[in-house]
Amino acid sequence: MQATVATTTLTGVEAIAVEVQADVSPGLPVFGIVGLADTAVQEARDRVRAALRSVGFDFPNARVIVNLAPAPLRKHGTGFDLPIALAVLAATGQVPRAALDDVTAVGELGLDGSVREIPGMLAHAISAVRADRDLLGPFSAGRVVGVVPQLRYRGIESLGRMKGGLPATASPKASRVQTPAVPVLDVADIAGHESAKRGLEIAAAGRHNLLLVGPPGSGKSMLARALCGLLPPLTEAESLESALVHSVAGLDPRQCLDGIRPFRAPHHSCSVAGLVGGGTPPRPGEMSLAHNGVLFLDELPEFGPASLQALRQPIEEGVITLVRAHGAVRYPARITLAAAMNPCPCGYAGDPQRECRCTDGAVSRYSARVGGPLYDRMDLTLRIDRVDPALIIDDAPVKPMSETVRGRIATAHAFAGIRRPSSMRSQLQPDARALLEDAARHANLSGRAVTRVVRVARTIADLEQSVPIVVSHVAEALGYRSWDTA
């Protein structure tokens, strides 16, 4: 007797269809799984056997062969447990075969027959909607997959539930998380740092990459966290994209679903795979987890050179392509990069109060670790200095209330959306263009640097809801360009 159950498996952030075929034939009792299954899938045999028995089904005393098709595709993970169990049940007539025709099943089984969540439930749900099939999976995942529109979800707590036929479809409401894990910092709470706050506003309005340079304790991390709070909440589409990456990585996607922008701050000991994604099976890295949000790299020069250089291409393209022997995997990575570093190894170069004790060579070696190409991709470089203690204690300036700033940023976003998307060059006023040309020749700016200056100037103009880019916009944008320390 044979039966087939549909399931899906993850590649990148997509779930692709896999057929689980079970063949139960007379012979010596064996239970074999074929079709490039990894160890986790092979172990499904023991889980399935125990789960079936503990909920009162029979495991056939016969030759059971399960094939996962397409056979050349590598199969990872424990999500095959449920479809394998269902295929065996259907092949032995314990569950009506017709009931499973329109169903895609995913889920891990416990020995007691419980159905457990697996990473990437959102991806499986989206794939089920695309294929116009019902999704059968763990009941507990219902609160997450409920956000996928048009999904027909059938959640079960235990395999024993299948005795009464398929459970009814439900459209569960996604539950909401109220408190964000990373406390969002309000710019209004930051004393001083006026020019840095202006830089943050521009970075938030145009999603520009940001480099904060300053001595220890000057407030670089604080400002980077405030950047996240300035960004407008995720749109519906964005929140689903970001949630999808979190789901695939096995993290709780509910914050993203609530519209909270991801803020990821990996430690500098992070590996290349941890940063851009990788491993077997491939898993999204911090950069993809920060998709549509902020990736904050504190102590930038302390990151490994390979990690830093791996950032370059995804920053430009907004997507990471991992090419492996068995194919390429793509993860989204549209991020706002916020990086922070000390000006020198001791940290106090240029600090008015403390003297820097670094040799000249040490300073240039330190800064060279980041490398020209990465500096070139930083749209705004802000020098952060310690604020006068009196200012912090008085806590006087509540001037640019974060609400006002956020309002300006939202308006700029909206304006950027409605202004005619003509070429930036035609919006550059002649005198602004002349200034840019002068400065580019003067400071030896690369082609990319010029493009990025124009983009920043465009954002500054958007903040003022001005279609033309005038000379003062370019002047301000040039001021944020990283200076040459030669």
Binding site: H193, E194, S195, R198, G350, R383, D438, A475, E476
Partner: protein
């Protein structure tokens, strides 16, 4: 080898006379280049971590003196030293470098092209034998040679504490005059040179004063036009960060950022490595 190496012993005919009469002259001088270029000159020394102000002063005074036939003596270190040599070369004048390592050793490495040029067309000397690598103390010893060769030592920019002081001390020991360029009272990088003035060094505030000291004629005082712009006027006295500038002038930060951006692009102000802006 195309370069010309020479060794001068104390008492040799070509050993610089002004150096020989100092209290502690080196017994042997090793050099590369033209030994006849070891004439009395003007020592120009300053901080390695020079600000644009220091570099600008160096270029002004060293360049002017070299252009008027005064040889510029310095140590080829980065910062003010290097700028002094370059200004002298640009003015078509003479210049010589005194090193704290063997005269054939490129140290600091960033000065290698400059040293190559000096060895070819001018002269590089040291009391360290050929091939000797630099040590920490050799630079302090080197400073007394700079002072000994020079008629006077001009300190363009020095913080506190500063290695430049050992050159000034050596100059006083050798009976040479110490000249100093004053700086802003707010600038830590000028604290040392301002203190030298208080201790009796002769302040040099424009080219005319240097000319007068050197006994030269025809110096036109530097055209110090009054800055029209409030921002420039504020920055000319005291380089500031944008935040401080905005507070000092009572204007908002956006306006400040734009003014500074425009002034920088036009070459009127420069950004210091520590984020302050100063007048070029």
């Amino acid at each position: 080898m195309s370069e010309h190496r020479f060794t001068l012993r104390l008492g040799d005919k070509r050993y610089p006379a002004q150096l020989a009469e100092t209290p502690d002259p080196p017994r042997v001088l090793y050099g590369i280049g033209d030994p006849s270029a070891l004439v009395e000159g003007l020592g120009v020394v300053g901080a390695r971590r020079a600000t644009p102000y220091g570099l600008r002063c160096t270029r002004l005074f060293a360049g002017w003196a070299a252009g008027h036939g005064i040889s510029i003596i310095s140590g080829a270190a980065i910062g003010c030293d290097r700028e002094a040599h370059l200004a002298a070369l640009d003015a078509g004048g003479d210049t010589l470098a005194v090193l704290g390592c063997g005269p054939d050793v490129d140290y600091p490495r960033r000065s290698a092209p400059l040293l190559a040029e000096l060895r070819r067309c001018h002269v590089v000397i040291s009391e360290c034998p050929f091939g000797q690598q630099p040590t920490r103390w050799s630079f302090v010893r080197r400073n007394r040679i700079i002072a000994g060769l020079a008629r006077a030592v001009l300190v363009v920019e020095a913080g506190l504490p500063s290695g430049t002081f050992s050159t000034a001390d050596a100059a006083l020991d050798a009976g040479r005059d110490v000249l100093a360029v004053p700086g802003s009272v707010f600038s830590p990088e000028s604290r040392g040179s301002n203190r030298l003035i208080r201790q009796g060094a002769m302040p040099i505030t424009d080219v005319g004063e240097l000319a007068q000291y050197l006994g030269l004629e025809g110096a036109t005082p530097a055209a110090g036009d009054v800055a029209a712009d409030d921002t420039l006027r504020a920055l000319v006295a005291d380089p500031m960060r944008p935040d401080d500038l905005a507070r000092a002038l009572g204007i908002d930060i956006v306006h400040t950022a734009r003014t500074l951006g425009a002034l920088e692009a036009a070459g009127h102000v420069v950004r210091y490595a520590d984020g302050r802006y100063g007048v070029r």
